[in-house]
Chain length 160, copies 2
DNA sequence: AAGAGGCTGTTATCTTGTAACATTGCCGCA
DNA sequence: TGCGGCAATGTTACAAGATAACAGCCTCTT
């Protein structure tokens, strides 16, 4: 499920399952935590999950407006902020765009592989890389809190 | 010089030397490459180097306008683009801001430690981290081209 | 003199993100 | 029953970041 998502962002697959899994998982997580995954927030999460490509806030807004005429920028940003604070989505800083989290539940800053050709972006969880980041910070006597790792290039599919 | 800058971003030091070193180095590099470090571009580089904190494009613009009334956003962005393409500055994606490069000359994507308290940002060059990044990409069959690594937290000074 | 290319000027606009205040709806409690 | 508080959303306006598109200028070359 989560682990499966993580390895097929750049491949063809039944994406409906991705979305369903993500939404189900999000509902569970929010229920456990006692926070409200309102219809609006869920809709935004669904929109972000429409693809494995990071989606801009204003693209979310365009999409959201179809079903929700009152939507405005703050509507979207509030929902995105909520989803980020609950670890359900990530912001891809180098693109100013948002991506569904495949490791929802665990608090973590993600590590991403962004294909410049097809746009598909995969979240990876690489313990060695994580360690290397911590060690690098430690050597510099720096207390790491948030770690942004975004590698862009070509996915296997586009390279072939 | 370069290595020295890299370890004192978060400490007090004679910053004039940083700037002078950076400008001198930039002139050398551009001369060797046969590209033009025009007065305008040099001025922008100097402004970016005024501190070890990443500087927003519009902050650069405000500062630039003092000596250069005709300056407009494109003026600044063109200069920043040039300086980035020559590896003389980096963009800090998570802040939408720009920082002088302490390793100018070598082509590289930087790795940064950003103090959320004082704002000082240090560029580090950590071969082990570099390797870990390459390995992580390789394991995912991904061809890495650009690597964004931005760790934010507390510098030793602010933690104390 | 003509033309090409690189740099800068200039105007306008686009994209991304936030401030600030109003409104709604629900829940607990007097 | 009504009131106070809080979380979520509505609404308007704007700030901040970035680029498009075209004009002008200078230099070098032929």
């Amino acid at each position: 499920m989560a682990a499966q998502n993580a390895v097929h962002a750049h491949t063809s697959h039944n994406h409906r399952e991705c979305i369903d899994d993500a939404l189900t998982r999000a509902r569970e997580i929010c229920a456990v935590r006692g926070v409200q995954l309102t219809p609006l927030r869920e809709k935004v999460l669904q929109i972000v999950w429409r693809s494995h490509k990071p989606v801009g806030a204003y693209d979310v807004l365009d999409e959201l407006t179809r079903s929700h005429k009152a939507a405005r920028p703050p509507t979207v940003y509030r929902a995105l902020d909520f989803l980020m604070s609950e670890g359900l989505i990530h912001k891809i800083e180098s693109l100013n765009a948002y991506l569904g989290c495949t490791e929802a539940g665990a608090t973590h800053s993600g590590q991403f592989l962004i294909c410049r050709q097809c746009g598909a972006t995969e979240e990876i969880v690489d313990p060695k890389l994580e360690t290397a980041l911590d060690q690098a910070a430690k050597r510099a006597h720096f207390i790491a809190e948030r770690k942004v790792v975004e590698i862009s290039g070509l996915c296997a599919r586009c390279a072939a």
